[in-house]
Symmetry: C2
Subunit: 505 residues, 2 copies
C-alpha cells in the first residue's frame, strides 16, 4: 500500500514556482465559496510517519489559505474533563462549523495507532476502533462534512535520515512525540497497523491519500491539489445527489398489530399505593445515586412520548429524589443557529454527562426519527440512516460507562383529548398547550408507525426502550423510577461481578 | 448585619400549607413568562452558613418551579482546563442563556471567603475580589441578567445544633465542605468576612437577601417570595427604563486635533528592508513562543482598523511565524443566536486562550464602541459603560498572565479608496469588498471620533493600544510583529525580575 510513496517523488523548484500561485488562488477562492455557502464543513485528518512533513504542510495550508477560517486542533493528552466523558467527546467539541475547516492533528487514528504500537491492546480492539472511525466518518459525511485523510509517508531509511537532520532544528526538537521513532521496531509496527487502518477505512466518501513526504515541493502541491479537487467537487455537487439513492421503504405498520397495541393502558395505581411506592422508589434512587459505584458511571435518561403523556411530571418525580447538583435537565426544542451548523448529534454530545453525573433529556436525538421524519424536516435517507447512527451513538455512551434508559410514555387518543382540554382551562397550564399540539394530534397514526419503527430498530440490549403505560400518571411515574433504579442496580452488579473475576485472576 | 437573622423566625405549618400553593403557581407562571420573553437571564447565588438549608432550598425551588428551565451549577475544585484560564472563565462558561435560570452554588463569593478563611490572602486581596464581584454583577445586570443573592444564616449556637443533627443524615454526610465548620473559629471568620463582602456588594441592582435558615417553612416562603417579586419586577419593567438615566455626552472630537492626526502615514519600508526585518521579527516571535516562560502566559492579539487597512495581511504575517498548533484566529462578525442570548462579552470569553496558547481576534469586543456605537446597534448607555467593562475584562485577562496587545491599523481616506477599487477589480479579492464597506466609508468622520474615544478610554498600562501607520503595508506588518515581540519580552523580563526577588527573600 505504501510502495508508491517510497519511490522518491519530487518536483523541481521551477515547476513549483510556476504552479503554486494559481493553486493557492484557487484554494482561496474555494475556501471563500465554502464559507459563503455554509453548506459543508471540512475536516482534514493529518497522520503518518514522524518527520514526513505533517507540521510543515499544515503550516503551509494556513499560509496559502485564509487562516481565519481554519482551526488547527491538536489532541494530545486528554484533559480531566475529557477523561470523564466518552472518548469521542473531545472530537465532537472541536468539530468545525459549516463553512469552516478543522485540521485535526492527532485524531482518532493517531490515538488508536499509538495505543496499538504501545501494546495497550491487541488487533481485535484496534479493529473495533477502526470500525468506530469508519462509522463516525460516514455519519459526518452524510451530515455535510467533507473529510480529507492524509497519510504522510517515508520509507524507514528516509525517516532515519530525516530525524537526524531534524534533531538540530529547534523548530522541531521542542515537540515531544508520544512514540519513540528512533526505535526501528516503532516504524515497522506503526506502518503495519497504519496499513490496516487505511485499508479498512478508505471509502468512497472519505478516501485516504498517501503522500510521499520527502520532497516539500511535491508534498505541498500534491496536498494542495487534492484539497482543491475535493473542495470543488463538494461545492458543485447538488445536495440531493450526494445522498445515497434508492432507500428501500420501511414496511407500513398501519393497521398491523404493534407493540403499542399490546400495552395495557388500564394499568393504574391507587393513591395510597402510589404514595408509598413513589417514596420507596425515590429513596432507592437517592441511595443509588450516592452509591460510590456511581462514580464510575454516568446516567442518561431519555423521555419521549405522546403530547400530554406526562413527561414533565415524570421528570419532576425523578428530580425530586435527587440533589439538584447531581443532575441537569435538557429540554430539546428546535436547534439553535450554532447547532444547525453542526452534525445532528452535536447538540446532544454537548450535554452528555461526565462520570458521576446524570442528564435527563426531555425529548432527545429520537426527534430525528419522530418529528423530523413525520414533518419532513429531513429526507428519508437522513432518518433511515439515523437508526444505525443512534445505535452507534448509544454504544459509545454505554461503552464509556454510561447507563442509558429510554422511556416512551404512551397514552390513548381519548386521554390526550381530555388532557388537552384540561390544559386549556387551567390558567397556569395554558403555556403547555399550543396550536402545534392540536396539529400533531391529527397525525396520530403517522406518529404511531414512527414510534413502532423507532422501538423496533433502537431498542437494544445495551439501551432498551421502556414503554410506559401512561393513561394513569401514578402508574407511569412509579414505573419510570423503578426502571431507572433497576438499570442502576443491574449496572452496579455487573461491575461487581467483573471486579470479582478480576480479583480471582 | 445578621442580627435579624438570629431571632428565630418561624412560620407554622398551617400558614405554610395555606400560602405555598399560590406562591408556587405564581413562580411557575413568572418562570414561563421569563422563558417566553427571553429578555433576561436569572442568576441565583447561594451562600451562607453550613447547615442553614442552602441545599434544601435549591431542591425545593427545583420542585416548585419547572426544573427544565433551571441549571444548578456547582463550582468545586477547578478542572485543569479551568486552571489554565483566567479565574472568571469558569463562571462565564456556565452562565444561563436568556429565558433560563442558573443557580450558582459555590460561586465567586464562596471562593473568596474560603480563600480568606483559610488564610490564603489578607483583607486587601479579599477587597479586590469583592470589587471584582461588584463590577461583574453590575455588568451582568446591565446586560439583562437578574441576580438574586441569598445568604442563609444561622447563629453559631444554631449551627452547632444543626450540624449535630445532620451528622447522622446520610443525605448530608456524604458531602464534603471545603471548610471545617466544627471549629468555632471557622464560623467567626466566615461571618466576619461574609459581612464585609455583603456590605460592599449589596447594591440596588443586585441586593443581598439574608435569610434565617433555622425554620424550613420560613426559609422556603421567604426565598420564594423574594424570587417572585424580583421576577415580576424584571418581567414588567420596560427595558429602557432599566437603563441608568442621563448619560453625560462625550465631548465632540470632530475638527479637533486627535491622536490619529499625529500619525505619520508616510512611514514606509523599502522592499529589501521589509524582507529582512520581517524575517527577523518572525524568527524572534517564533523563538519567544517556544520560550519555556511562555507556558505561564497566554497571548491575545486584537486587530482593529479601517476597512481595507490590511488586518488580514498583518495577521497572516504573524501566523506565518508560528506552528499552527499554537494559535487560533477568531474572526468576529455578527453574533450568533446562542451568543445573542448571553451578555456581550460572553462570545469573547469563549475564545480566551489557555496558558501557553495564542488567540488572534480579527475584530473584537471593541465592536461595541465602534460599529455598534456608530450604527446604533446598542444604546448610548450600553457603549458608554463598555469602556469600563472592557478595561475590567482586560484587567482580568492580564492578572491571569495573559499578554494583551491591541492594534489599530490606520490608513487615510485616499488609500482606502484605492484599495477598494483594487479589490473590485481583482477576481480573488472580490469577496473582500461589499456594499457595507462603501456605506461605512461614508461615515468616516463618525468612526474617527469613535476610534479616538476608544483609544483615549481603553489604552491602559496593562494593555495599551498600538496605532499602526498602515498606508504602507510593509511598515504596518513589521510594526505589528515587533510590537508583539516587545510585549512578550517585556512580560518575560518582568517575570524574571519577580522570580529573582522571590529567590532573594
Amino acid at each position: 500500500m505504501f510502495e508508491s510513496a517510497e519511490i522518491g517523488h519530487f518536483i523541481d523548484k521551477e515547476t513549483y514556482d510556476r504552479e503554486a500561485p494559481a493553486l493557492r488562488e484557487a484554494l482561496l477562492e474555494a475556501q471563500f465559496e465554502l464559507h459563503q455557502q455554509k453548506r459543508a464543513s471540512v475536516i482534514v485528518l493529518i497522520n503518518g510517519i514522524e518527520g514526513a512533513g505533517k507540521g510543515e504542510t499544515v503550516k503551509l495550508l494556513s499560509e496559502w489559505m485564509d487562516p481565519r477560517l481554519i482551526e488547527v486542533r491538536t489532541f494530545d493528552s486528554q484533559t480531566d474533563e475529557e477523561l470523564a466523558h466518552p472518548p469521542a467527546w473531545r472530537y465532537w467539541r472541536q468539530l468545525p462549523a459549516k463553512g469552516r475547516m478543522g485540521v485535526f492533528f492527532g485524531n482518532w487514528y493517531s490515538q488508536m495507532l499509538q495505543g496499538r504500537v504501545h501494546g495497550l491492546f491487541k488487533n481485535a480492539v484496534l479493529d473495533q476502533a477502526i470500525t468506530g472511525a469508519e462509522r463516525l466518518e460516514k455519519m459526518l459525511c452524510n451530515e455535510g462534512a467533507v473529510i480529507f485523510k492524509f497519510w504522510f509517508h517515508l520509507s524507514k531509511k528516509q525517516m532515519k535520515e530525516r530525524l537526524q537532520t531534524l534533531k538540530d532544528d529547534p523548530l522541531h526538537s521542542w515537540r515531544i512525540s508520544p512514540l519513540d521513532w528512533q526505535q526501528s521496531k516503532t516504524y515497522d509496527k506503526f506502518v503495519r497497523y497504519g496499513e490496516r487502518a487505511i485499508r479498512r477505512t478508505s471509502r468512497d466518501y472519505a478516501p485516504w491519500n498517501i503522500v510521499e513526504g520527502i520532497d516539500p515541493y511535491y508534498r505541498s502541491l500534491t496536498v494542495g491539489k487534492i484539497l482543491l479537487e475535493g473542495l470543488q467537487a463538494a461545492l458543485h455537487t447538488p445536495k440531493v445527489a450526494a445522498r445515497p439513492a434508492g432507500v428501500p421503504p420501511l414496511p407500513d405498520k398501519q393497521g398491523e398489530l404493534t407493540l403499542l397495541d399490546c400495552l395495557d393502558l388500564t394499568r393504574h395505581l391507587e393513591k395510597e399505593d402510589y404514595q408509598e411506592q413513589l417514596i420507596t422508589e425515590q429513596a432507592r434512587l437517592s441511595g443509588l445515586m450516592r452509591d460510590k459505584r456511581m462514580r464510575r458511571h454516568s446516567l442518561i435518561a431519555v423521555f419521549e412520548g405522546n403530547d400530554a403523556a406526562g413527561k414533565g411530571g415524570s421528570i419532576r418525580r425523578v428530580a425530586a429524589a435527587l440533589d439538584p447538583r447531581q443532575y441537569i435537565i435538557v429540554p430539546i426544542a428546535a436547534p439553535s443557529e450554532d447547532e444547525r451548523a453542526q452534525p445532528y448529534l452535536w447538540r446532544f454530545w454537548r450535554h452528555i454527562p461526565a462520570r458521576g453525573k446524570f442528564t435527563i433529556f426531555d425529548r432527545s436525538w429520537y426527534g430525528r426519527v419522530l418529528v423530523e421524519r413525520v414533518e419532513g424536516f429531513c429526507t428519508k435517507a437522513d432518518w433511515m440512516r439515523a437508526y444505525g447512527e443512534i445505535n452507534d451513538f448509544e454504544e459509545q455512551l454505554t461503552a464509556a460507562g454510561a447507563i442509558v434508559v429510554k422511556f416512551w410514555l404512551a397514552i390513548d387518543k381519548d386521554t390526550q383529548l381530555e388532557r388537552f382540554q384540561e390544559r386549556e382551562e387551567i390558567p397556569f397550564k395554558r403555556f403547555k398547550i399550543t396550536e402545534e399540539d392540536w396539529r400533531n394530534r391529527e397525525k396520530w397514526d403517522v406518529y404511531r408507525s414512527a414510534v413502532c419503527d423507532m422501538v423496533d430498530r433502537t431498542s437494544t440490549e445495551i439501551s432498551p426502550w421502556t414503554l410506559v403505560e401512561a393513561n394513569d400518571k401514578r402508574w407511569a411515574r412509579v414505573k419510570v423510577l423503578r426502571t431507572i433504579n433497576e438499570a442502576l442496580e443491574a449496572a452496579f452488579e455487573k461491575r461487581d461481578r467483573q471486579e470479582k473475576k478480576r480479583k480471582k485472576k
